[in-house]
Every structure is written in C-alpha cells, then in structure tokens.
C-alpha cells in the first residue's frame, strides 16, 4: 500500500528579551547555576509575576511577519504539573486565547512553493534544568532558565515529508533570526522542535493516529527522527498493528524513537486563567509601533535581489539566508560599486567556502564587508587579476590587512605596462624555440602553454588580457 506522511511541528523559540517573562532576572545563557534566578523565579511564597511587555513586542513582530491576526486580548493560563525544575508547580502559558492567531509561511521544496499554515503562536515561560550528572545519584536543579520567555509556534499538519518539515523549520529559523527575536541556537536550546507524525493510506481524508516526537535538536535529526518514525508506523500498520497515540523520545545516538508516555498516561494539566495576571491587552498603537520595527522579510528581500541585482534564484537565496549575509552583500555593493553578479560570486563561492571550512558565520568573518569591497575595487580597476584576488582574499582571511595592504606587501600589483609584458613574452619565446616552431606549423593548442609560461614568469601578475593580445602578435609567423 502507498502511505502518505502527515507532519505538524511545534517549535519553541526562546525570545531575546533582556529579562525574564515574569521577573526582572537576566536571561543570559551559560551563567553559573542559579545565579540568574530571583525570588519570583524560584517561586518563594508570596511572590507574583509581572509580565515583560518586551516579549509581547517580539511575539507581535512574529505574528505580523507571518501575516497572522494579532489577538488584542490574550490570556495567560496556568499549566499545572509537578517537576523539580518547575518551581511554581505550574507553567505560565497561553491556552485558549494566544497572542498570535492563524498565519502562514511559504516554503520551497525542490523548486516548488508550498504554503504551510501556522495555527497559533503563544507566549509561555521556560522551565529550569535538571542536571543528572556529577551529583552522586542526586539531581541538581539549575533555575537560571526558569522564566525565560518562549514563543511556541504551532503549525498545521500541512507537511507531507521530512523534507518539507526541514524546509519549514529552516524557514522559521531564518525568519526568527531576521526578526531578531531569537538567536536560533539549537545547541543551547533556544530553538527547539517537537514533531507530530502520522501516516495514512494515500487518498484517505482522515488523519492517522499520531505520535509526538520530542527532543530533536538539529535540522538533521528532525529529518532522521521523522523518517524513522514514519517507517516504524508503516511497518506497524502493514503488520496488522495499530499506532497508539503517545509521546516518543528521539535518541540521536541510536537513530530511533522510543515511547515516553502513552495517551492514557498523558497528564491532565488542569489549565485555567492565571488569576495573578490580567489579560494581555494590546491596542492598535502598540501593534502599529511593532510594525514600524519590522525589517524587510527574507522572501521580499530575495525577490528584490533577483530583480534589482539580476541575480539567479540560488544566489539570491544564499545571500538572503540571514540578515547579516544580506546586509554584508549590500554593503559590499555600496562601498565597492562592483558588478552585483561578481560580488555575489565572491560571497557565495569564495567567502562561503572559507566560512564553512572554519565553521564561522558571516558576522564573525575576518574579511569584513569593507575588506571585501577593497578587494573588488582592485579587481575592477585591474590592479589584480582574478587569480591573484583569490590569493589576496586568503591573506585577508588570515589577518594580513585589507586588499591594498596585501597587494602592497606581497607585490601583487598586476603588470599592465605593455613594454614590460612584451619583455617577459620575448624571454619565454626565446626559451621555447621548439614549441614556437610547432605553433607556427599550425598546432594552435600550444597558445595556452605560452600564456601559462608568461603568467608563470610574471608570477601571475601580468594582465591576462594584455598577455593574450600581445602574445598573439608575437607568435604570428
């Protein structure tokens, strides 16, 4: 039987607010355990939450970016359960009335576009962390993360393959970073994903029973976890079994999912409106203010790059993959006046290779936009050839200064003086009488050999165009 996969994703993004969702404690990652947890975060008797409106600002920014309706009135609710890293015994979340209602995101898979619905996005607070190592059989609790604001983004079950799921996730990842509401760091847990996966026979309208996959903390694992789970479910169904609704944990070491708890064991969270917090009311002015802070969104930017700079879709999408990358590109264009296509090539090919090699991102590239501009200027005014430019780029990468400094220091300035080039050509011809004879006898393929020798003799500095032209004349019988 042919099976169709149905996937919906729940993504938790940690919002980049300076202080926590309901207290004044700092949110910085990696501090000494329990040094960023105040009385409210550790839930001392008598303390009360006060909502941080910066988090609402960020949530609305996201809502506007996905074309969603913003709820002018949303309600904080308590999700009750006991766990040591949940100090109050309940998590403040939004349940019936989230801040962001229905929206959508367009993904691109294998060249075709698909719209993925977003059901809702709601504000909630993160829990602390339980540390099970180094405590001699006991559990350590670090409440630094407790109370950090999260925006939980829930998609419709609109994805039909792991590939689509990854495309959606990457798109979302790109978007939240563009909006500067989340740093997107998956290792540190600031962008986390749960996947609801089910299968059904092709053509069937009803959804199959789903499993919720937890603990998937990279794009690659999302793909693998879903693929494993789809296979598991199909195998089960084809063997006459039934999928049970449950929560499953993905184990990346074993590349397998295992049952965490079944529907019967599912907790009753006893949601109810938090009586400590009045409904969150946002007026039109607030939303208008947020709107003013919206940057150009990735899709719009991509389309503009294609149109304005005559780039192909691939280059445009690499250059707009992050706001920093796009800004870098445009700064280079602005400062160097270079041809957009040439500038694009330098960034998407040369720069990308180095970034990948050293595992860096554009923001921490040792070759700044200004340095890249200096290189492209020298390339455009024929001070250096394309080949030399690569050498200069590497030197810049290694911290040897900007293009002019490198060219100066290494004596890489291109030779454009015709007489000087002629001198080199003459010397090369004199050294290769046999080849000259063969060439003149009609073996024109040897032209390249002569070019190579001339370039070599000039240490690559001779202007290739001039070399070509002069050499052609000199080689004439």
């Amino acid at each position: 039987m042919e099976w169709e996969t149905v996937i919906g994703l729940e993504v938790h993004t940690q919002l980049l607010t300076r202080s926590k969702a309901f207290s004044a404690a700092a949110t910085k990652y990696g501090a000494e355990p329990n040094t960023q947890a105040c009385a409210v975060d550790i839930a001392l008797p008598g303390v009360l939450p006060v909502f941080n409106r910066e988090a609402a600002h960020m949530a609305v920014k996201f809502g506007l970016a996905i074309g969603a309706q913003i709820n002018h009135r949303s309600v904080f609710a308590r999700k009750n359960y006991f766990y040591p890293d949940l100090p109050k015994g309940y998590q403040i979340s939004q349940y019936e009335l989230p801040i962001v209602a229905k929206g959508h995101i367009t993904i691109d898979v294998d060249g075709s576009e698909k719209v993925i619905g977003i059901t809702r996005a709601h504000l909630e607070e993160d829990a602390g962390k339980s540390l099970h190592e180094d405590f001699h059989g006991m559990t350590g609790i670090d409440l630094n993360r407790a109370g950090t604001p999260l925006l939980e983004i829930v998609s419709e079950p609109d994805m039909r393959s792991s590939k689509e799921a990854v495309a959606y996730l990457k798109k979302l990842h790109e978007l939240v970073r563009y909006l500067e509401i989340c740093d997107g760091n998956m290792q540190e847990g600031s962008f986390r994903c749960d996947a609801n996966v089910s299968v059904r026979p092709f053509g069937e309208k009803k959804f199959g029973t789903r499993a919720e996959l937890k603990n998937i903390n990279s794009f690659r694992f999302v793909e693998k976890a879903i693929e494993f789970e789809v296979e598991r479910q199909i195998e089960l169904l084809e063997g006459g079994g039934k999928v049970v609704q449950e929560t499953r944990l993905y184990d990346s070491d074993k590349n397998a999912t295992r049952s965490m708890r079944s529907k019967e064991e599912a907790m009753d969270y006893r949601y109810f409106p938090d009586p400590d917090l009045p409904p969150l009311v946002l007026d039109d002015a607030f939303i208008a203010d947020v709107k003013k802070t919206l940057p150009e969104l990735p899709d719009v930017k991509r389309a503009r790059f294609i149109k304005q700079y005559s780039l192909n879709a691939y280059d445009a999408s690499v250059l707009t993959s992050s706001r920093e990358m796009a800004d870098y590109y445009e700064q280079v264009l602005c400062e160097s006046g270079a041809d957009p296509k040439i500038a694009a090539n330098w960034i998407t090919v040369e720069m990308s290779a180095f970034l990948n090699r050293d595992n860096r991102d554009i923001a921490t590239s040792p070759v700044t936009a200004r340095m890249m501009s200096s290189l492209l200027k020298r390339l455009a005014d024929n001070t250096i050839s394309g080949k030399i430019a690569k050498e200069v780029f590497e030197a810049m990468w290694n911290g040897e200064g900007d293009a002019d400094a490198v060219i100066q220091k290494k004596g890489l300035k291109q030779i454009t003086d015709g007489a000087a080039i002629e001198k080199v050509i003459d010397a090369v011809i004199a050294k290769n009488p046999k080849q000259l004879e063969q060439y003149r006898a009609g073996k024109e393929a040897l032209f390249g050999y002569f070019v190579g020798q001339v370039m070599k003799a000039s240490q690559g500095k001779a202007n290739p165009g001039q070399v070509n032209e002069l050499l052609k004349n000199k080689l004439k019988p």
Partner: protein, 484 residues
C-alpha cells in the same frame, strides 16, 4: 497605655508622653502574659525593640509620621524579612522569609513596629483558627470559643489588647468574621487596593490584605499606610489613594443604606438580627435613609466560592513540594515519593481537602461544569451588587450568622463551618470593600458584628460611616473581662 487606640497612641508618642520602646515593651509583656490565647506564632522582642528604638530616633528628630513607633501585629501570611513566616502550616514551619511583603515594607517605612507574627488558619483556610499547625487560638471574650478565622490570631491579639492593631487578610471573610467574633473593626479593602506581593497566596483572585483595629478611625490610619498601587502586583489597581482620615467626620445625613432581604432570612440568629436592626436604628438617627435591596444570587456564593477558591489554591500551593525550601519529608525513595510524603505530612486535613476539591474542579471533563460555571455565577453575584448600588450608597447586614462558637463544635462538619462565611463571601467574589464593626453582644456576652459593604474603591465612605456610628455608640470600647 494598652487601652489606647492607634490614634491616641500616635498623639501620645508625638507628645513624647512615652517612647515607642516603652510602649512596645508593654505589649510584649502582655503577649508573654497572655500566651494561653496562642495568638502569636512568632515573637521576637529583640527585633521589635530595635525597630521601636529606631522609631523613637525618628520621632525625636521630628521625622515621625502617623504610625511611627506604633506596634502592629502581623498576620503570619505576610513575608517579613528575617522573620519566620509559616502561614500557619507545618510545610513552612522552617521558612524564614528573605524579603518583605509590600504591606510589611510600607508599614516599616511608615515607622510601625512589627510586634510579632500572629496565628492563623493554615494557609488562611478556615473560619475558626482551628486548622493552624500551631494550634487553636482562644477568643478573649470566652476562652472556650473560637476567635474566628482565618485572621484569628490577629483578632485575638487586638481584642485582648496585646497589640493596638494588626494586619489580616480576607479571602472569604477572614478579616471581617474574626473582627465580628472578637468585637473589633476590620476592613477588607476592594480587590486591588492593597498589594498582594509577599502575602502568601490562598486564592489569588479573592485575597486582600487589610487592617484589624479597635476603631474605624484606626483602620483609616492603617489603610493610609497599606494601600496603593504596586508594580510588583499586576492585579493591584493604579488609582489615587485618598487620605482616609480626612473624611471620617463627614456627616452622613441622606446616606442611603440598602438592606439585602436575603441577609435577614432563615439561618440568622434572632439575637443578631435584633442587634443589627438596632444598629440600623442608630443610622436612621444620624439621618440615613434605609431601603430594602435584593441580592438574589447571594445564596449561590458559598458553592461558587468553594469551587473557585480551592481551584486557585490547588495551583497556588503546588510550589510547596519540599524541593527548594520549607518542610521536606525525611524518608522517601524517589521523586514522586518525596512529593507525596512531603505534602501528606506537611499539609493539614483542611488544606488537603481544598487541594483535592480544587484539583477535581479543574480536571479535564469537570472544568466546564465546575470552574467555568462558578465563574459565571461570580459575574451574576457581582451584577447583583452593581444593581443594588444603583439605589443605595452602602449595604449593611450581619457579618456572621452566629457569634463565636465553641472550639471543636464545627470541626467535624466542614459545610457547617463554610456556612459561617455566607454573608462575607459574596463581597470577595464581587471584589468590593467590606467592613465589620462591633454592634452589640448576645446573651452570653459575645460580640456581634455589623457588616458594611461599599462600592468599588469607596473605602473612604465605609470608614466615614463606621466612624460616625462609633461616635454615637460604645460597643467598640468594651474590653473583654480579664484583659483590662
């Protein structure tokens, strides 16, 4: 000294008739002498006297305010920096608060002296002070009877003149009912008037702190210091706070008093009915008009309250899990066992009962039938008051259906106990200000309270009306036998 009201003491301190240290010592000695009342959980004379001496310095410099140097007993529900803060529970029996509740902070700034932490029903759940882990409090008017609850320790302390004033909290009547049962004036302000920050939560949407004093005038003095917007409490209301002492003497001629017919029906002790009618007569003498109003949904207040308050409590009390502070059971084999044993051993039966009721009411499948329904009722009850206040300025009636009952009399019948709050609970559900003032005694010599209910944030009017009444009556001046 101990017979004086806050207002009198303040004037005497200002005139340097005695020092705050002397005054504090007098009360500390009385607290020690009348320990059998069990009104206090924690007394720390050194700490109190240090505060008193600091107040004396302020007074000497001429920097004293109305409450500077006045000893105030604090209900043990308010976190006070460095003080054991138990909320009447074993589960917090080792908890020393590391910070001041806003109410404590405000009173400290005003120069009041913390005289100690008073006994209370565990987590404020009770109407008799019998659910306290620290034992029952005795009513100074008759040690065989309860002082009411949950602010029973505060009420007994002020009634026995162990403190000139005390703080209390009122979720369903916990200031007004003990005030009625011990012959005091107690005010529950409008919801949002006094910050709840640092006041250990029972039912967040109903809890409100307020003063328990001998007179309405004293309540005004205390409320002046306690009230006000607090950025740390999102439910506190950002509205100007008037000087409540300024309007105390205003004439009440033409005041329209509404008597809810539902408050004078079946279940009301006839002796109390008589006393309340007599009090109404006094108001007529003062020029007030009296008319009948109706609060048709008030009979639903108790069931409504006993869904909502436990629901909120079941969640509010989840933090007492033994993980970070407070009592933790000693023998447990895993996490679940630690939770179960800690909470089984740390909470008393009434608290457990309400956690179970609340958990049930919020459970999937029952939420709509209980919690949601109760919320709807709550709106109806508030609507009753809104309509009544279209035709009157103040509503009056009894505070409690009976006077102080015998210790142990109702402990086996929770519903009978809950019915004690029948006249006070609707006011919390509506979020209105309410007050109880002494209006007479029953045949056994036990005090009877008259309840005054005001419009939202109309505390000034309640205090004014109560003060005028106290100028023509002397019920509030009686001292229980053996304590003068």
């Amino acid at each position: 000294m101990f017979e004086k009201t806050v207002a009198e003491l303040s004037r005497a301190l200002g005139r340097k008739e005695f020092s705050s240290a002397e005054l504090t010592t007098v009360f500390l000695e009385r607290i020690s002498r009348y320990q059998n009342l069990n009104a206090f959980i924690t007394v720390d004379p050194e700490r109190s006297l240090a505060q008193a001496k600091a107040a004396d310095v302020r007074i000497a410099r001429g920097e004293g305010g109305a409450l500077t140097g006045i000893p105030v007993a604090q209900k043990d529900i308010f976190c006070a920096d460095g003080w054991l803060t138990t909320c009447g529970s074993k589960i917090l029996s080792n908890f020393t608060a590391p910070y001041d509740a806003t109410v404590i902070d405000k009173l400290n700034r005003a120069g009041a002296v913390c005289l100690g932490k008073t006994n209370m029903d565990e987590f404020a759940m009770g109407s008799s002070n019998e659910t306290s882990y620290y034992g029952v409090v005795k009513n100074p008017w008759n040690p065989e009877t309860v002082p009411g609850g949950s602010s029973g320790g505060s009420a007994a302390a002020v009634a026995a003149r162990l403190a000139p004033a005390a703080t209390g909290t009122d979720t369903g009547g916990s200031i007004r009912q003990p005030a009625a049962l011990t012959g005091l004036s107690g005010l529950k302000p409008s919801y949002g008037r006094v910050s709840r920050y640092g006041m250990i939560a029972f039912a967040s949407s109903l809890d409100q702190g307020g003063p328990l004093c001998r007179t309405a005038e004293d309540c005004a003095w205390l409320l002046n210091a306690m009230a006000g917007f607090d950025a740390r409490d999102s439910t506190s209301v950002d509205a100007p706070v008037p000087d409540y002492t300024k309007t105390l003497d205003q004439k009440i001629e033409g005041l329209r008093i509404g008597l809810p017919k539902e408050y004078f029906g079946e279940g009301l002790n006839p002796e109390i009915a008589q006393v309340i009618q007599a009090a109404i007569g006094e108001f007529k003498q003062l020029g007030a008009q009296v008319l009948e109003v109706s609060l048709p949904n008030s009979q639903l207040a108790i069931p409504c309250y006993y869904v909502l308050a436990p629901a909120e409590a079941s969640s509010n009390l989840s933090r007492y899990d033994g993980a970070r502070y407070g009592f933790r059971a000693s023998d447990y084999k895993d996490l679940l066992d630690m939770y179960c044993k800690t909470r089984a051993e740390g909470f008393g039966p009434e608290v457990k009962r309400r956690i179970m009721i609340g958990t049930y009411a919020l459970s999937a499948g029952y939420y709509d039938a209980y919690y949601l329904k109760a919320q709807q009722l709550r709106r109806l009850i508030a609507e009753d008051f809104r309509r009544a206040f279209e035709v009157c300025d103040v509503i009056m009636g009894p505070t409690s259906p009976s006077t102080a009952f015998k210790i142990g009399e109702k402990t086996d019948d929770p519903v009978a106990m809950y019915l004690n709050d029948i006249y006070t609970v609707p006011i919390n559900l509506a979020g209105l200000p309410g007050m109880s003032v002494p209006a007479g005694f029953d045949a056994r010599g036990l005090p009877i309270g008259l309840q005054l209910i005001g419009k939202y944030f109309d505390e000034a009017r309640l205090l004014n009306v109560a003060h005028r009444y106290q100028q023509v009556t002397d019920w509030h001046q009686r001292t229980p036998k053996g304590f003068s």
